[in-house]
């Protein structure tokens, strides 16, 4: 499955409600079916950390951090990579604390 986050060039994604919408309706259902999901960050200049946490950390905590192996992050600029890395780190820390 391929998720294209935005068609609008130079987008800075901030509304966490949007992130939740994609997570609930596309990302989590695909992971629960065992699909590999390619998330396309083309056109994404950046996001707030809350946006990324809603999207990535929320998914990993909902589906398990092992589901990270089914996620492929495409066309990420350095800032987006940093935001994803931080979010994954947070998810792993929380999963560890919960265990």
């Amino acid at each position: 499955m391929n998720i294209i986050l935005t068609e609008q060039p130079d987008s800075f994604l901030l509304g966490s409600e949007c992130a939740l919408d994609i997570r609930i309706n596309q990302l989590v259902p695909a992971l629960k079916k065992g699909e590999t999901v390619e998330i396309d960050f083309s056109n994404v200049r950046g996001t707030s950390q809350s946006w990324m946490n809603t999207f990535i950390m929320g998914t990993l905590l909902e589906c398990g951090v092992d589901s990270l192996k089914y996620l492929k992050f495409q066309h990420c600029n350095p800032l987006v990579k940093e935001l994803i890395t931080f979010s994954v780190q947070k998810a792993k820390q929380r999963a560890l604390q919960a265990a």
């Binding site: 509304g15 707030s48 950390q49 809350s50 992050f73």
Partner: protein, 321 residues
């Protein structure tokens, strides 16, 4: 008894720390004005900042009943307030007594944060982009900081305040600083935190501000209507803002009910009792001369968080393509 707010010449952050709402006999305003519940005297105002304007705006919005505002005596000030939409948003002084012209990279008109920008649309993104592009038109690096910080604050209003809010930003060429204010007249930070059973017994506004600026703290953990639901909330919005201010040598003020949080760059924050502010007002100032990138700052925060929590995660399994 009606209430009165006396506005000083400088409607700014300093005023917000000492503002008082006093009892007032509405009959003093003359015949037919007896039903006025709030009288705001802006006659002396000659200078305003985003902090002062957003603070006053939400103080007025928090009042039920008839409101009367005395306009600034200085016509330039009155026209400026009209032009930035201060009166439009309060639906008073509807005459358009000003000449519209470009903001010239100085300010973005006051914008309501209302219900229609909440649900699953890109309205928050577009609003923040407009603000960042106006006050820092040629500086993408600085825009990233603004977008990141304003986005977190607007999300807080839409997700936690249970009210509408307002935002306003201005660039000051003399100091090279941008001041951004985001205010609401909602339930305040303490009440928001108390949605989380962990903070159910929280009684102090001072403690609430200290807790809200820690990492991984939120009142929405148990709220099914929030983005994280099922205890998956991040609760890091104010924490990130605090860290960015710390690392970029900016300034951060948060007013929520009786508490005032102030942070000057990387100095220890001061949290003290102040005047009563219904709702929450967040004001931050960043200097455009700051040259690090948002990416660099986030990397530093990430490393510090790892050290503070004494955890190291293997992140080599993230698949970037």
């Amino acid at each position: 008894m009606a209430k009165k707010i006396n506005c000083p010449r400088n409607l700014n952050l300093s005023w917000l720390q000492y503002v008082s709402v006093v009892d007032f006999d509405a009959q003093e305003l003359g015949e037919g004005k007896e039903d006025i519940s709030l009288f705001v005297d802006m006659s002396k105002v000659t200078f305003c900042t985003p902090a002062g304007l957003c603070g006053l705006h939400e103080m007025i919005k928090s009042y039920q009943g008839a409101i009367m505002v005395r306009r600034p005596e200085k016509s330039e000030t009155y026209q400026y307030l009209q032009r930035i939409g201060f009166y439009d948003n309060l639906q008073i002084f509807k005459d358009k007594n000003f000449v519209s012209h470009s903001a010239s990279g100085r300010f973005k008109e006051m914008t309501l944060i209302a219900k229609d920008i909440q649900p699953r649309s890109s309205a928050v993104d577009n609003l923040c982009r407009e603000i960042a592009c106006v006050v820092a038109p040629d500086d993408r690096n600085f825009q990233d900081f603004l977008l990141f910080c304003i986005g977190e604050m607007i999300n807080n209003v839409t997700q936690h305040s249970h009210s509408t809010g307002i935002t306003y930003a201005q660039f000051y060429p003399k100091t090279n600083e941008v001041e951004v204010a985001v205010a609401d007249h909602g339930r305040g930070i303490k009440a928001g935190l108390k949605d989380n059973p962990q903070f159910y017994s929280l009684e102090s506004d001072l403690d609430a501000l200290e807790i809200a600026t820690r990492p991984d703290t939120s009142g929405t953990f148990d709220s099914a209507s929030e983005p994280y639901a099922n205890k998956l909330n991040s609760g890091n919005g104010l924490f990130y803002l605090k860290k960015i201010i710390e690392k970029s040598y900016g300034h951060l003020d948060i007013f929520s009910h009786s508490a005032h949080y102030y942070q000057n760059g990387n100095q220890q924050p001061i949290i003290k009792l102040g005047c009563l502010f219904t709702g929450t007002l967040v004001v931050f100032r960043l200097n455009r001369a700051y040259t690090s990138t948002l990416q660099e700052i986030l990397r530093e925060i990430q490393e510090e968080t790892s050290i503070a929590q004494q955890t190291t995660s293997d992140l080599s399994d993230i698949q970037f393509e």
